[in-house]
Amino acid sequence: MMRRVGSGFVVSVALAAVLLGTAAPRADETCMSPYMPKITGQEDYVYVWTLGVEGEGDGSDKLVTIGANPADAAHYGKVLSSVSVGGRHEAHHAGFADDRRYLWAGGLDDSMIWVFDLATDPAHPKVVRTIDSFVKDSGGVVGPHTFFALPGRMLITGLSNDKDHGGRTALVEYNNDGKFIQTLWLPDGAEYGYDARVQPRLNRMLTSSFTGWNNYMKELGKVIADPEAMKHFGSTMVVWDFHARKPIQTLEVPGAPLEIRWALQPRHNYGFTTTALTSRIWLVEQQDDGTFRASAVADIADPKRVPLPVDVSLSADDRYLFVDTFMDGSCRVYDVSDPHHPRLVHTKKIGAQVNMVSETWDGKRVYFTSSLLANWDKTGKDNEQFLKAYGWDGRQLTPLFAVDFAKEGLGRPHIMHFGQERFYKNQIYAGDAARLTAVR
C-alpha cells in the first residue's frame, strides 16, 4: 500500500508540475534547444570552445573545461582539462545533441566539425567523431555556425558557400550518427545566414543573417574600411514553418541581426535579436493574424560609435535581456518586461572586449567570454582573452571568478555550455539528506 501511495503521489505531482507549468527552474542556460534535457541545480563545468593562437600552448583550437561549482573549491574557476583538435579552424560555436551527452563544435574557416563525448568523463571530454565532409555533404555550404539539437538530429546553420565565399548559405541537417540528411538553402532576397531558433509552441523557426567567409575571415578594420565589403552583410530574418522546413516570411532587419532568443514564458509569442552594425534591439513579434513583425525597440549605447552588439541572453522570466557590446567590452542589462520598450537598468564593463554571454536559468549567474573572431579581436593590450563569471542579483553584476585564457596558454575563448557531474552520472536528487555530491 505504501508503494501504491508513493507512486500515485509522485505521478500526480509530476503531472501537476508539467500541466500547470510550475516546475521551478533550477539552472542551466536559457538559450538551449528546447528539444534536449536540462540540468537541474548548480552547474559543475563550463565547456569553452576556444580558438587556438599561434605561440600560445599548442596553438590549436580546443575544448576547455572549467570548474564552476563553488562547493568544489579546489576546482572552482580552474582549468580542469583541455582537448585539442589539432590546428586552427576558426573555432566558433558548439551545441549539445538531443540527449546532451555529446557536444558538436564547428570551425568557420575550413568547416570541420568535431563531436565530443562529455558523458563518459564530464571533466575530461573526448573527441569521438570528426566530420570533414560538411561542404561536400551539404552541396557547398561553408562555415557551420549554430548547432541546434532536434530530436534524432542536429540542425546546423551555415554562414557562407564554396562558390564565392559570400553570404549565400543554408541550413544543414545531420542525424546523431553524423550522417547527412538535407540542405535547406535560404530564400532569394534573404540568402544570408547566422542563427536558427525554434519556438515549438508556434511551429516557427527564426533565422538571422551575418556575412560570408570573405568578410569574417578578413581583419575587421579592413572590412569596415572597404565600402564594397560592407555591402555584404545580412539585413533580413526569415520566419519558417518549422515542421515543413519552409520559409514563409522575410523580415527586414537592417544591420546584421545575429543571436535570436525566443521568449520563454507562455503566451509570449516573440523573440529578440540585436543588429551588429546598426546597434539596435529588435523585437520579432507574432501578430494577431499569425504573421510576424520586426521592429527596432531600442538603441544600444550610441549606434554612431558602432559598439558592435554581439551575444545576448534572455532571463528565464523574460524580464532581463543581457546585451554584450564588443567594442566597449560592456554588458548592458535591459528590463524587457515591456518588450516594446526595453529599459536600460545596468551597465557593467567586463573587459577590453567581450563577446558571448550566458545566463543561468535560475538567474543567479552570468558567464562571459571575450573572443569574437580571430581576425576581429582587438590587438595589443586590449586583446584580453578570458572567461569571467558574475553573480546577478536583479540589480547588478558582481564578479565571481575569472580565467585568463592568454595566461593559461589556451587561446581565444568563444562559446560556453554548461555540464554537470550528476546529470552525466545519471544520479538523482533524493531529498536534502541524500543530496548527491559530485564524484570526480
Partner: protein, 240 residues
C-alpha cells in the same frame, strides 16, 4: 485542455500499472518538479495548425533493422513482424515512468492516434502503432498486456517487450534511443530511468522519417506525417 486530459488519463493508467512496482521509499524525497523540469521547456500545447499533408517532405533520417521482441501475449516476435511493411509509429516506454513529459505523454499521444485511426479505416489499414518497453526485468509480457488492456486499442496498436537487456540494447542503439538507470548516491538504482522521450515514424521500408520528442510530439502532427507518407507512396506508384 485536450492535452491535459490525455496526460492526466495516461498518468492515472501508469500510476495503476506501476502500483506494486519495486520503487524505493527514497523516491518519496525526490522533488517531482525537478524531474519535470528536465524536459519542462519542451512540454507544450501546439498553438498552430499543422501544415497540409503532402505539402512538405520527410527526408530519411536513418534506417533500422529487425529485432527480436516478446509480444504482450508472451509469444516471440520481431519488430518487422509487428510492422509488416506498413507505416509504423514506434515508441519506447517503461510502465513505472513518473515523468509526465515522458512515457505518460508518449502513451497519451499514441492513445489519441489509436482513436483517430479507428475513425479513419483507410489510414488505419496502413498503420501500426508499437509500444515497446525498455525495462524488460519489470515489464513482462503480462504487464504489457495490462497496459494494453487499459488502453483497449481500437486500431492495430501492439505492445511488446524484450527477453533481456542483451536483446534490448541493440534495439535501443539502432533507434538511437538513450536510456540510463538513475541511481541514488550509494549507487543503488532508483527504479527510474533517464530517457529522452522519442517516438519514431517508420515508413514501409523501415526508414526513420521523423523523430518526435517532448517539444514535437503531437497526435495531429503525427497523423499529418502519416498522411504525407501515404501521399508520397501513392505518388511513387503513379510515377512508377
Amino acid at each position: 485542455m485536450r492535452t491535459s486530459r490525455l496526460l492526466a488519463a495516461a498518468g492515472l493508467v501508469l500510476a495503476a500499472v506501476s502500483a506494486g512496482a519495486g520503487d524505493d521509499p527514497r523516491l518519496r524525497a525526490v522533488d517531482p518538479a525537478e524531474l519535470g523540469y528536465t524536459y519542462g521547456v519542451g512540454a507544450f500545447a501546439p498553438e498552430y495548425a499543422a501544415p497540409a499533408p503532402g505539402s512538405y517532405a520527410l527526408p530519411t533520417i536513418d534506417t533500422v533493422t529487425d529485432h527480436p521482441l516478446l509480444g504482450a501475449d508472451g509469444r516471440s516476435t520481431t519488430l518487422f513482424a509487428l510492422t509488416r511493411g506498413r507505416l509504423a509509429v514506434v515508441a519506447f516506454v517503461y510502465t513505472t515512468c513518473i515523468e509526465a513529459a515522458g512515457c505518460p505523454l508518449s502513451l497519451g499521444v499514441l492513445h489519441r492516434l489509436d482513436r483517430a485511426l479507428a475513425r479513419d479505416r483507410q489510414l488505419a489499414r496502413r498503420v501500426t502503432l508499437v509500444t515497446i518497453s525498455f525495462d524488460p526485468a519489470r515489464d513482462t509480457p503480462a504487464r504489457m498486456a495490462v497496459m494494453r488492456s487499459f488502453h483497449a486499442p481500437e486500431s492495430d496498436w501492439r505492445f511488446a517487450t524484450t527477453r533481456s537487456e542483451a536483446e534490448l540494447q541493440p534495439l535501443l542503439a539502432d533507434f538511437d534511443q538513450p536510456v540510463a538507470k538513475l541511481r541514488f548516491a550509494d549507487g543503488t538504482w532508483s527504479g527510474l530511468f533517464r530517457h529522452v522521450l522519442k517516438v519514431f515514424l517508420l515508413d514501409g521500408e523501415h526508414r526513420v522519417r521523423n523523430v518526435y520528442s517532448v517539444g514535437l510530439l503531437d497526435a495531429t502532427l503525427v497523423l499529418t506525417d502519416l498522411r504525407t507518407l501515404l501521399l508520397e507512396t501513392a505518388a511513387a506508384g503513379t510515377n512508377g
